[in-house]
Amino acid sequence: MRCGDFKESYREDEEIFQSLFVRICLAVLFVLLIITPFVASSYVLYIMNLIGIAIIGAVGLNLLTGFTGQISLGHAAFVGVGGYATAILVTRLDMPFWFAMPIAGFVSAGMGLIIGIPSLRVKGLYLCIATLAAQFILEFVFVHWESMTHGIRGINVPAPRIGDFVFDTEKSYYFITLVLVILTVGFARNLVRTKWGRAFVAIRDRDLAAEIIGINLFRYKLAAFALSSFFAGIAGSLWVGFIKVVTPEHFPFSLSIQYLAMVIVGGLGSVLGSIFGAIFMTLTPELLNIFVSSAKQLFPGLDQFFIPLKEIIFGGMIVTFLVLEPHGLAEIWHRIKNFFLLWPFSN
């Protein structure tokens, strides 16, 4: 008699929902996510929206960096392209947000294609610098193409609406974010199980060998850039609809680094890792803030000491994680899962 989790084919091995238990867990999670906005405060929902936007951006970057091995330091600029494209389409052409968002994604993807062209010839650090250049060029365009971007003053964007219903609170916007997170994560998770995903991984692991077995490097590298930028564009669009204003200051180089940190801390080459990384990088500073503001109440007059402390703790946590677990949070998650799966033979 069979027992346990027993697989007989590659198809079964690659299933997303591996067992009934996983399906039940995900269903419970989904229900919790639906209930959350009705019980949480506007601040908690603000953070959840931020996490959702970060997840979409991080999944996009992980497709490029984690799966295809192309390091990008210009991700924030692509988020910016999506944000600006949305703002311009909504304010100039009076286009509904729902149409502007996918178009913004494609505009961003187009920009990603252009930036991705050198990726066939340049690799590693050289590609890093090429994408860094993209970050600064695009930032320069945001600031100086005043007729289009309103320069440093930015553009005010009306909140998305359906008929008379306006998505102008954290609670209502949360549902837009949730739907998009499910769509993008679902898409990415499925993509990496297809021929495309396997081609990405082959390129990452050994591009020369990948080419010998017939993978068109140029096509797949460009596709990875376009996909990653598309995700970034959607994240940017979502951010602009949420915050209702866009200025060049929203997409600094430090945001690119933050996205890179998300995928490294979460786990390179793992969609789940992107989610963990985005949650960690968004939530931890906030928890530290709460901790610091509470500590201030308990030890009045020590503000100057406590406030910089959170930066040190956050930096220390990231370093500790990377030293103790170079494969990121996703690997820790796998280990916890295996502990229970293999129990009582875990150790």
Binding site: S41, S42, Y43, V44, Y46, I47, L50, V143, G151, I152, R153, G154, N156, D168, T169, E170, I243, K244, V245, T247, E249, H250, P285, E286, L287, L288, N289, I290, F291, V292, S293, S294, A295, Q297, L298, D303, Q304, I307, P308, K310, E311, L324, I332, I336, F339
Partner: protein, 389 residues
């Protein structure tokens, strides 16, 4: 597994401590603030935070708001928009204060629709941006002095009086902060019949300003007004202009009116002027400065100087306190009541910290021109209070 327990425990502990801190007394009036304590603006942020807190705590010592005590709630916004917005929303949902103070123009712009339609609280900030002084768009927001455009107006008025028809140049940064007053200043030049000969743009902190300086040398302005820089490249520009033998008079707006600028310029500060709506730490004859010094000696014995950014937030604190008192007296201690109180401010006496304050379009467009004294390393007034109509 042990690691997981550790993180879980740490998180639970943090949340527990956070909730334990939420037990506030009910009869308090809460004033919230998002301050740039860390990040790019931290050099001023610490001072700005101290100024606002001191003004509120002095009011508490003097009996509070008709007997009610003020509680000051501050969080760090790091001068980063997403962090600042998060801190703003955290304070709003946790403490629901009557008044908020923000750390940047960006935060004010981002929160403006929600302040107007949802939170309905009195709001002011570190920013002198004209965009935030718009009673139609932002009825709940005010600028605690003149806007940057007003400051340019004050300097240009001074120039027009000292040297009619003078040649003027603007030297501004490539940021919102730099560009904010420029369009209004161009119009002002036309009105005052001043000759705007050059507009130079540079990056904040840039060191290579040779091309801009050469252009100014060709156009030889009598006056150059800096906007949008805190320190660099002001020093480099002045030095290079002096090396070329130019006799130009240099000027700055509020952030160029700090003692730090005069200290950094050293002997090159000779003749440097700046516009500032508030009195300085060294103006000992001013009653409010005396009060500030006495309070500082008592609360922060190690502090020997407070810059003009402190005075700005202190002034904002005085306006907050006055609005709270008036709204409380009228029995309207809420956002709309505070706005009514704000609009009723006429010749408000700040103990000499500035000229009597009268609100006009959600700002107080009055300041004076100060000139650097390189011997004493201070700025001294060279004009009376000038009001921009």
């Amino acid at each position: 597994m042990k690691k997981r327990h550790f993180w879980f425990s740490a998180m639970v502990l943090a949340i527990a401590i956070a909730f334990s801190a939420f037990a506030y007394a009910e009869d308090e009036i809460k004033v919230g603030a998002v301050q740039p304590i860390t990040g790019r603006f931290a050099f001023a942020g610490v001072n700005i935070n101290a100024g606002l807190e001191d003004a509120l705590m002095i009011a508490n010592e003097e009996g509070g708001i008709n007997g009610k005590k003020i509680k000051y709630i501050m969080e760090d916004g790091q001068y980063q928009l997403d962090v600042a917005v998060a801190a703003f929303k955290r304070i709003m949902s946790r403490d629901n204060p009557l008044i908020m103070y923000g750390e940047s123009t960006g935060l004010g712009k981002a929160m403006s629709p929600e302040i107007k339609d949802r939170y309905k609280i009195l709001y002011s900030s570190t920013s002198f941006s004209s965009e935030l002084a718009d009673p139609k768009e932002n009825p709940y927001m005010f600028v605690p002095g003149p806007t940057y455009a007003d400051m340019f107006g004050i300097l240009l008025k001074y120039i027009a009086k000292e040297k009619p028809g003078a040649k003027v140049a603007f030297f501004y940064s490539d940021t919102e902060f730099g560009k904010d007053p420029i369009e209004a200043a161009r119009q002002m030049c036309k009105t005052l019949k001043l000759d705007l000969v050059a507009e130079e743009v540079a990056q904040v902190g840039s060191v290579d300003v040779t091309s801009q300086v050469l252009d100014m040398k060709r156009k030889n302005p009598d006056f150059v007004i800096f906007q949008g820089f805190v320190v660099d490249p002001v020093q480099t520009v002045i030095k290079q202009c002096r090396d070329f033998g130019m006799k130009t008079q240099f000027m700055g707006t509020f952030w160029g009116a700090s003692k730090m600028v005069v200290d950094n310029l050293g002997p090159m500060a000779e003749g440097y002027m700046a516009v500032n709506p508030y009195m300085y730490w060294w103006n000992d004859d001013v009653p409010m400065i005396k009060k500030i010094k006495a309070y500082t000696a008592k609360k922060y014995p190690k502090v020997t100087y407070r810059d003009n950014s402190y005075m700005q937030s202190f002034m904002t604190g005085l306006i907050f306190v006055e609005c709270l008192k008036r709204a409380d007296k009228a029995g309207e201690l809420n956002g709309p009541g505070l706005v009514k109180a704000l609009q009723s401010l006429k010749d408000f006496d700040s103990g000499g910290l500035s000229a009597p304050y009268t609100i006009k379009n959600n700002k107080f467009p009055v300041a004076r021109v100060w000139k650097a004294n390189t011997q004493k390393k201070i700025l001294e007034p060279v004009s009376d209070w000038i009001t921009v109509e």
